[in-house]
């Protein structure tokens, strides 16, 4: 066991997999000699060489297309998109190609690409370094969508993603790279070393895709969330002193409906929380599923906490970010009803 922050955990996942499997390779903008703008691929170029850690042209669509072709030819590419905000130029290759290839070829061709990309705000990145476009990908059948909230899960889930024969879009909440973040920008930042999920085995292990994690069990209300908001919600629950069940969704697609159902049937109340905008955000799907599966258990309307339906504004970052107050507000709303 070692202490790792999220960057180190992700790096370790790639390192372990490149060591085990010669077909694993990494490609992306600045990922090679430089080790990536967040240093997630640091050291891999030196260790595995220029043929397995490829610096690429700045062309996200080209990166994805090349990765797909490599995957068809037996490699297991990990493609880094420097910021999730820049994944859109690759949208067609992901949606029309990566996700559809196995289906349209009757199972004969497929490409096990993992797309890693940092998402979310809280780093003063303004509207083009803060987005959380995960919901869009959850509507695309044929791909899996993962977002870890801590180093342990990050490594285990990334290993599972690399090993998965289906394509995975792997979102990394960049605000969590160096430490957990509870939504209060005025507090001194904390490191992962104090957090139990900052303990990460150095060797191979897998956290399965498709399983949500009950971070805190409770009886009064279920909080469905993922990524940075896991920590924000945990702190809000703490502050309110409410006996909430906190579920880290971790895999958005395919969704672990059982765990959600079991929880809400028990608590009878539910809020969802994410940083992404609200309208057609993943909270909508969660809300729809919960009311479908647990309608008769619900004692109050499900409340969605989300980023406002505006771009992520640089100066108003902390008015935009759905912090503890907004979570508490939502919890209060659902607790009002007997």
């Amino acid at each position: 066991m070692a202490r790792m922050n999220m960057i180190q955990a992700l790096n370790s996942a790639m390192d372990v997999m490149m060591e085990r499997d010669a077909s694993v390779l990494v490609l992306g903008e600045d990922v090679g000699y430089f080790g990536g703008v967040f240093n997630c691929t640091g050291g891999l170029y030196e260790k595995y060489g220029k043929h397995r850690v490829l610096d690429t042209p700045i062309a996200e669509g080209g990166i994805l297309a090349a990765a797909i072709g490599m995957g068809v030819n037996g490699l297991r590419p990990i493609a880094e998109i420097q910021f999730a905000d820049y994944i859109y130029p690759a949208f067609d290759q992901i949606v029309s190609e990566l996700a559809r290839l196995r289906y349209r070829s009757g199972g004969d061709f497929w490409s096990p690409v993992t797309v890693r990309t940092p998402c979310g705000g809280g780093i003063r990145g303004g509207q083009t370094h803060s987005q959380s476009p995960e919901a869009t990908f959850t509507q695309v059948c044929g791909i899996k969508v993962v977002m870890p909230s801590n180093p342990y899960d990050a490594k285990g889930l990334l290993i599972s993603s690399i090993e998965d024969d289906d394509p995975v879009i792997f979102f990394e909440p960049k605000r969590l790279y160096n430490g957990p973040f509870d939504g209060d920008p005025d507090k001194p930042s904390v490191s992962w070393s104090a957090h139990e999920r900052g303990e990460v085995p150095e060797e191979y292990y897998a956290v399965p895709i498709g399983c949500a994690d009950v971070v805190r069990s409770g009886s009064e209300v279920t909080v469905l969330t993922y990524g940075t908001m896991v920590h924000v919600c945990a702190q809000a629950i703490e502050r309110m002193g409410i006996d909430a069940e906190l579920i880290d969704i971790r895999t958005l697609a395919p969704l672990d409906i059982e765990t959600i159902k079991t929880s809400v049937q028990k608590t009878g109340r539910c809020i969802t929380a994410h940083e992404a905008t609200r309208i057609s955000g993943f909270g909508a799907e969660l809300s729809a599923v919960v009311q479908e599966e647990c309608f008769w258990s619900l004692k109050a309307p499900i409340v969605r906490v989300a980023g406002w339906d505006t771009p992520y504004p640089h100066a108003f970052e902390w008015d935009y970010f759905p912090g503890q107050e907004r979570v508490i507000h939502a919890l209060e709303q659902v607790m009002v009803y007997e």
Binding site: G62, A65, G69, N73, R104, S105, F109, K144
Partner: protein
């Protein structure tokens, strides 16, 4: 102040009711273009993109340095594959008119492209075709029953009923799956080729796209990645003059040949008479050798003409003169090869007629077999349960549930 300039809108020189006009197509004399060594630096061979490699002359002789000197059996093979492709297309068009298949796209007039290029490549080379490359399958020896099964969406359809007709793939034959989205396969081919080089393996990749499709961003991705990493790939632009109703100048072909599109990256381009089997074969061999020996990618522009409608949904008489093909300066690839063989005393009209007839019969026979495997309209076809498979490697819970739901609803017995 002078009058402000207006926007330039490319204009097709001939439209319905007018005389066909192909004066814009620049030709070279057969035999006139030099054949540089395959390792010549790209800067020194830029002119290949601007001229046109041709081997067959007006007298049906093979002339010049690009003559591949094909043996008799190779020529016969080329002729047979082209003829078979044409006969296959004609049959499938008839079947569409009879309502037996829902859609079709023929390659009439462009058969030399797929046939000669396929012959010039090796069987382990991976092909990333567009939708007008059925000739690749036929030349690699695929049973046309397989192709028909796909068009019929029957129980033997390799796409399991999920794709429209003509969206073939052939894993064992190293022919990639066709997407409905134009040009996406082109940078994928480059990635495939990169992987081959990364693994230190010999096979190269080849890919095809239309003149119109060159405008898609993916073509640029392909050029960029191929150039930067010198990927072992052959990129083929099939310039058949038309993209549905839009002629090639709208893809930028009005100013410079498509073969020149990669020069700015150091990717040599070579323009070839796409209806001259010998020239197409020679040029493809040359490009494949460049790729295989590590010199790098090549962009080939194959100048040809889309003689038929874009697809069975299209009516070209609305946007071009009906008799354009007759005036097309590069003629008919089958006719040209046939005349060459005849003038070389390797072939006769009667042999040709016999071959035609034999292929007609073969294809008719295949059709019967394929129809026995079922059809979209009349079945038997695959069970609809299969619709939920291959979205993922294993069927996830939510799709199992949806499969059950469909079953339940169908069971209710109400008309659906």
């Amino acid at each position: 102040m002078s009058k402000a300039p207006r926007l330039h809108i490319p204009q097709r020189s001939s439209r319905p009711g007018e005389e066909p006009d192909f004066s814009y197509v620049e030709l070279s004399q057969p035999g006139a273009v030099d054949r540089p060594a395959t390792d010549t630096p790209s800067k020194e061979i830029e002119s290949l993109a601007l001229s046109m490699v041709r081997v067959l002359d007006e007298n049906h002789r093979a002339v010049g340095p690009w003559d591949p000197k094909l043996g008799d059996s190779q020529m016969q093979h080329a002729l047979t594959c082209m003829l078979k492709t044409r006969i296959f297309d004609a049959r499938m068009l008839r079947m569409h008119r009879q309502g037996k298949i829902s859609f079709y796209m023929q390659s009439l007039g462009e058969e030399a492209v797929s046939v000669a290029q396929c012959m010039a490549l090796q069987s382990e080379d991976m092909l990333f075709p567009s939708y007008r490359n059925q000739g690749l399958h036929i030349t690699r020896g695929r049973d046309v029953v397989d192709l028909m099964n796909q068009c019929l969406s029957n129980q033997m359809d390799g796409c399991k009923g999920r794709q429209m007709p003509i969206m073939y793939h052939w894993k064992e034959g190293n022919i990639f799956s066709i997407s409905g989205n134009l040009t996406t396969q082109v940078p994928q081919a480059v990635g495939w080729a990169m992987a081959s080089a990364i693994k230190g393996e010999h096979p190269i990749a080849a890919t095809w796209l239309g003149d119109g499709s060159t405008a898609e961003a993916d073509f640029y991705h392909a050029l960029t990645f191929a150039s930067v990493y010198k990927a072992p790939v052959v990129l083929n632009v099939v310039n058949n003059q038309w993209a549905i109703s839009t002629f090639q100048a709208f893809a930028g072909g009005g100013h410079r040949p498509f073969a020149a599109r990669g020069l700015g990256f150091g990717i040599p381009g070579i323009r070839v008479d796409g209806n001259d089997v010998l020239a197409v074969y020679a040029v493809t061999r040359w490009a494949a050798e460049r790729a295989r020996s590590g010199v790098g990618p090549t962009l080939i522009e194959l100048v040809t003409y889309r003689a038929g409608a874009h697809s069975t949904s299209d009516d070209p008489s609305r946007y071009r003169p009906k008799n354009e093909w007759e005036q097309w300066p590069l003629g008919d690839p089958i006719e040209r090869l046939k005349q060459h063989m005849i003038s070389n005393k390797k072939w006769t009209e009667s042999k040709h007629a016999k071959l035609s007839k034999k292929l007609e019969q073969e294809v008719a026979e295949s059709w019967k077999q394929a129809e026995n495997n079922g059809s979209l309209a009349h079945g038997p076809r695959l069970h609809e349960d299969s619709m939920f498979e291959d979205v993922y490697k294993t069927v996830p819970k939510h799709l199992q549930k949806q499969r059950e739901e469909l079953k339940r609803i169908k069971k209710r017995g109400v008309s659906s």
